[in-house]
Symmetry: C2
Subunit: 219 residues, 2 copies
DNA sequence: CGTTCATCGTTCGGTTCCGAACGGTTTGTC
DNA sequence: GACAAACCGTTCGGAACCGAACGATGAACG
């Protein structure tokens, strides 16, 4: 989600400040929460209320969590699957928001714009349909991102020499310069976010995520 | 991301079919790809081109991947961090798209609408600011989702008895009925997507993701 | 060659979403 | 008790995104 669709207007992207921003609380208490291994999101609200107003709510924490457990135990639920999948989405959002604010916004880049630049940077001279597939966006969206990036002088496009339908994308020298200066910053943040994981955990997590992607994409 | 903002118009959400949809290729070849443990996305494009046109591209696969390795090895990059973080985002998108198509669309629900319903279902009688925090959306977005869900008779709202600024949200009987019928479907898909992971892997992955969330949110 | 069909990138309408601004309510301070 | 500051949910403008429709090009077949 970072684009301008038609009518490329440069230099307006990535405005994620931190005012009304999406906030989110904290950990869960394994002793109370019915989730597996403290790895769920069920008690974030509890912590919030707990911290905020002393005890003004009508239902106590215990009663509420009891209700959660009962509601879920009534049905037969795969709690560990829930913990994994729901945290995938939560993590993705958290990462994206953080990266946009800390790394991308100062360079006036949006997330999608960044991903597109990255793909072109890595593959150089790549057809736009492949860029869209790699970046995980639709063709229509890519057109807009393209125009934005072109108007900022970061990306070039030329028609495929053998097929006039296709379009080849590549980075301008300015774009290349941008990437080689920004990507280390980006990667540093990636490293920071995964620094609590040892190497085995990183590899295992990446492998697990790939398994999920595989299941989700062809099923 | 699933909402209607202002002017609640019911019954038009969740239209994700599969026509021009976001496609995405396949695995990477560990023998060739410079990533760790086949857990990256760097060779998806390669596989695509490989499968599509026999060998019409100008740079061979080997040359391309060599270029990737060189470009990345020129800088000092934490490849395992990159593998983890980039796959988080990819997995989240894949999961969301799949769930929207298979589970939510038949019930005319959007992803965000679903998450909001879920939060209210679990916590019952919850203040809207907490719903927004739990669901990971902004207050403004929640207002729109609220209206949509209210106009469909799934959600009730009432003013907080002790504080006229606050609003308490809860599910109508119709909303409760919907949740208890749809959530098992949803959870079944969650289970399906993580079925290639054994229990230890699920727990470990969930734990790793929480660590990432923690880092991303307060840093 | 001319026709048909697949495929490419673009256009366009509609939806989702964020963030800043706003009015209304409560709390704190003199 | 008035006044200011903090906080709540809503409104509103604008960006980002998808998916269907479109025009143009290329390939297959007679």
């Amino acid at each position: 989600m970072a684009d301008k669709q038609r009518s490329a207007r440069p230099g307006t992207g990535a405005k994620r400040k931190a005012a009304d921003a999406v906030v989110s609380p904290d950990d869960c208490d394994p002793a109370r929460c019915p989730c597996d291994d403290a790895a769920c999101s069920l008690s974030r609200y509890v912590r919030t209320t707990q911290a905020a107003n002393g005890d003004e709510d009508h239902h106590t924490l215990e009663a509420t969590e009891q209700a959660v457990a009962e509601r879920l135990s009534g049905l037969s639920i795969d709690m560990s699957a829930m913990a994994v999948i729901s945290n995938v989405y939560r993590a993705a959002n958290a990462v994206r928001n953080h990266v946009e604010r800390t790394v991308l916004a100062p360079h006036d880049l949006t997330w999608t714009g960044w991903v597109v630049l990255w793909v072109i940077w890595i593959w150089g001279d790549i057809e736009s349909r492949h860029v869209a597939a790699e970046a995980g966006i639709s063709k229509g969206t890519l057109t807009g991102v393209q125009n934005t990036l072109m108007s900022r002088g970061l990306v070039k496009r030329r028609v495929h020499p053998d097929d006039a339908r296709r379009v080849l994308l590549s980075l301008t020298p300015k774009g290349q310069k941008l990437m080689s200066s920004v990507f280390p910053e980006f990667n540093a943040v990636e490293a920071l976010m995964s620094e609590d994981l040892d190497d085995d955990a990183k590899l295992a997590t990446a492998r697990a995520l790939r398994a999920i992607v595989k299941k989700a994409e062809n099923a």
